[in-house]
């Protein structure tokens, strides 16, 4: 099935694009949002999110890791437009960075949004790849496309989202939803 970042099941056929779990920050200040025990019964995963950080800063980095792996087993590329120019870059890192999200001193009410596709996540014969389209329109505007790679053949069973730059909490209103796509 084609996965064009967001619309996966245009016919609305039953059971091909399913919600696995939503996590909504309605109180408190979680420093990470983790999806555990992800079933291997889908072909691909999609994450849809609106996020904001709680650190005393205008913006902070939003990032994710798989299966609790905090080692330098990730690489990623990005293509971004900031309102004046287009740039590209790459990372070899211990995480996959999506882009910055507004934080506590940023424009009130503003969130960063992204849709992340994680392909063939349960396949044990290949490294795992992901891609995302994200945007924010406060405290520096940015629309960004990412590709990510986790150099591991293990099936993805957990995803951890966190504030990479400040290790701080998510703000109330943050929402991350995980979906499974049948193959």
């Amino acid at each position: 099935m084609l996965i064009p970042l967001g619309i996966l099941d245009s016919a609305g056929a039953p059971g091909t694009f399913e919600l696995i779990q939503t996590q909504l920050v309605s109180s408190g200040s979680p420093t990470s949002i983790t999806f555990n025990s992800i079933p291997a019964t889908y072909k691909h995963l999609q994450v849809r999110l609106t996020v904001r950080g709680a650190v005393a800063s205008t913006a902070t980095a939003f990032s994710y890791q798989f299966n609790g792996d905090t080692a330098s087993n990730y690489s990623s590329h990005f293509l971004q437009g900031d309102g004046s120019s287009v740039g590209s870059g790459s990372y070899l890192s211990s995480t996959i960075l999506v882009q910055d999200m507004p934080a506590a001193t940023g424009t009130a009410g503003s969130f960063m949004t992204a849709i992340i596709d994680i392909l063939d996540y349960a396949n044990t014969s290949k490294y795992k790849t992901s891609r995302s389209l994200s945007g924010r329109l406060a405290n520096q505007t940015m629309v960004r496309m990412n590709s990510g790679n986790w150099r591991n053949t293990a099936a993805i069973t957990s995803i951890n989202f966190y504030d990479f730059s400040a290790s701080s909490a998510f703000a109330v209103g943050t929402r991350i939803s995980l979906y499974g796509i049948k193959g």
Binding site: I7, S10, R48, T50, G83, V86, T113, G135, R136, L137
Partner: protein, 165 residues
């Protein structure tokens, strides 16, 4: 398990129209997805915009990124009276185009509404846009129209989906 995405409305124009409006959008989903294929039947110097909840104030901010085969560019539109859905990639030389837009957390009342959209044509390039509507109101209507005031031709299609969460 039920599918998490459901068609809410599907409009195929039987005659030319200056705009398309989805109204009385229910608040029972988490995100909205707009998929449109359209033509103005004329030319490529046209742009598509959205007004949310009929808001004509300067409450829209957009940032674009375009690659046209030879160069890449980005533009910022702040405090606009509408949100941009296409700027440079929305119409080919015959006035045809397509777009797909995601309105995230559209019914939440604790945050501004953010959307991300993609469009592209063979003659103009590929474009991504992020937009923010500076309002915490739930989105209940979307008005899609040509910035230049041209019309969408008969046969243009506009589909709206709801994504559960």
């Amino acid at each position: 398990m039920a599918t998490a995405i459901k068609p809410l409305a599907n409009i195929t124009l039987g005659s030319a129209a200056s705009s398309v409006t989805f109204s009385s959008i229910v608040g029972t989903y988490r995100d909205l997805v707009l998929v449109a294929t359209y033509t103005n039947g004329v030319a490529d110097n046209d742009y598509i915009a959205v007004k949310i909840n009929s808001d004509t104030g300067s409450n829209y901010n957009s940032v674009t990124m375009l690659g046209n085969g030879s160069s890449a560019s980005s533009a910022n539109y702040s405090s606009s009276n509408y949100g941009w859905l296409t700027v440079s990639g929305g119409f080919d030389s015959s006035g045809r185009g397509q777009l797909q837009t995601q309105f995230m957390d559209y019914a939440a009342t604790d945050k501004h509404k953010t959307y991300i959209t993609r469009n592209g044509t063979s003659s103009k390039g590929v474009e991504a846009i992020a937009g923010r509507w500076a309002s915490t109101s739930a989105i209940t209507s979307l008005n899609i129209y040509s910035v230049n005031g041209w019309t969408f031709a008969s046969g243009s299609t506009f589909a709206l989906y709801g994504v559960s969460a």
